[in-house]
Symmetry: C2
Subunit: 301 residues, 2 copies
């Protein structure tokens, strides 16, 4: 079974009735809602759900329909940048689905947001149609208020699908991206400079791995420091490769890795990669050989 | 969802119609059949299926019903030792089920084999009621032909449930055991003595790990040697601990581990143990944090 994750962000974080109505609409399409986080200061809610690709498409549209009906961006003030009632909708391939599948889902959702709800759409990250729109923040520049003007006057700001802005729901950014893994490694020292140095070594922005964002953090309570990371594509930069790099760099400072943590969700494949690497498995076929995957995904023999 | 594996062995390996009837009966109870292996020389078939505990109990009984109807041990000759048409039925806890759950399933199946099919039952391994019956071979001593006499004359050979033997289906050995993992590690040498030495070091019988059986094997085709192992309880003796022991022992001989292989099925937990160990995860909760497990097993939020 193909499994896709979808993490729509809605510009409503204060009225639980509206959030609940959106979540109900999503859930009614046969996906599994894994989390709902509402933030009052940001005035924003993030829903995480997983399901088969077609169900995720229907669920995203169903949630958007409610949000477009019930949220008025003209009345909306919050700390988080936004351009629409349905602000951002990323699709994430989890298993049995490729990034290309998620790009297609994103494009199909975009067409329907415009044709059925009259909400214009911008495509970002892997679903971007223009290179300069890969970055979400470039699309959201000026936010709803600024974009209202810009779409009329600046051809470079025109939506990828549709025209202008929806009068109350603004526009929506739809895309496809890899699953994020929040992976932190704790070091047996209180010297934060060591964590900072290692973070610089492993993150892309200063010469490290392409799909790693990292920073040093001082964990006062635990009396140690941490290399706190986001892995933005574990297939490109696997957890074990990052772990080994951090371990080796720490050793150079005479420091041990005392533990690691995964914050939130992680795709199974990311952990199986690590088992495969360290056990030096050859010819291992997870879908055929792991009992649970045979049970859940396999065909009867 | 609790998941149990069941691997009944039937004394029919030559007539595909009988084997197919048994498999159909098993499948009709809502379990997933992962494999059917028939051996003509052994005149024996092994069916592997997984499912929820109650479904596994029903499926084992349904398969047994067909086997008891269609197999006559008085006509049966094969190389593999056996005492019954349904010769052995082990239940194996996979996830969300304990060994104790499987022992209870085994005892319930035993009662029903006798009350519904008039087949007497011996309990073995974790389900054994007498210490000397933990070992399957002790129960099967003398096979069907010898047991016919022994149950009448030797009180020590009386079944745990029922009396005597079924006139055509003999008796059945029912039990509970941990999942077997066939785990082989290849060494970068052609010197089989090194594989033999390491095998002796890691297996229980010569002082190694409690749940490891091991031997050295010469892989002519691959021009290397192998430590070929069965792990009989990966919770007691995890894959990574065995791997590290083999790796360390090999290093002492100046030899590298060039790869490993898992033959056949492996429970997901065994691989997650390895990922957890090598990545030094702390506080990781697989059922809550692995996306696929949330999707397949979790409750909606």
């Amino acid at each position: 079974m193909a499994l896709v994750e979808c993490v729509p962000n809605f510009s409503e974080g204060r009225d639980p009735k509206v959030v609940e109505a959106i979540v109900q609409a999503i859930r009614s399409e046969g996906v599994r809602v894994l989390g709902v986080e509402s933030d009052k200061d940001h005035h924003r809610s993030v829903v995480t759900f997983v399901g088969e690709p077609e169900a995720c498409l229907r669920a995203a549209l169903a949630g958007a329909r409610i949000a477009v009906e019930r949220i008025d961006l003209n009345q909306h003030k919050g700390e988080h940048p936004r351009i629409g009632a349905v602000d951002v909708v990323p699709f994430v391939p989890i298993s049995g689905a490729t990034m290309e599948d998620c790009v297609k889902l994103a494009h199909r959702l975009g067409e329907r947001l415009w044709s059925e709800l009259q909400v214009p759409v911008y495509f970002y990250e892997a679903a971007a149609l223009r290179e300069e729109r890969r970055n979400l923040e470039a699309i959201r520049k000026g936010q709803y208020e600024g974009l209202k003007e810009a779409v009329r006057t600046d051809p470079a700001r025109k939506p990828d699908v549709g025209e202008g802005l929806h009068p109350t729901a603004g526009a929506t950014v739809v895309g496809a991206r890899g699953p994020l893994i929040a992976f932190n490694i704790n070091l047996g020292t209180r010297d934060k400079r060591i964590a900072d140095t290692i973070a610089r070594g492993v993150r892309q922005s200063s010469g490290g791995f392409r799909y790693v964002k990292a920073m040093g953090v001082d964990l006062q309570d635990q009396q140690c420091v941490q290399v706190s990371m986001n892995l933005t594509d574990f297939r490109g930069t696997p957890m074990h490769r990052v772990f080994e790099a951090v371990r080796t760099e720490a050793e150079r400072h005479g420091v041990n890795v005392i533990g690691s943590e995964v914050v939130g969700l992680v795709p199974l494949e990311a952990l199986l990669q690590a088992a495969d690497f360290y056990l030096r498995l050859t010819g291992f076929r997870p879908k055929e050989q792991i009992l649970e995957l045979r049970m859940w995904e396999g065909e009867p023999t």
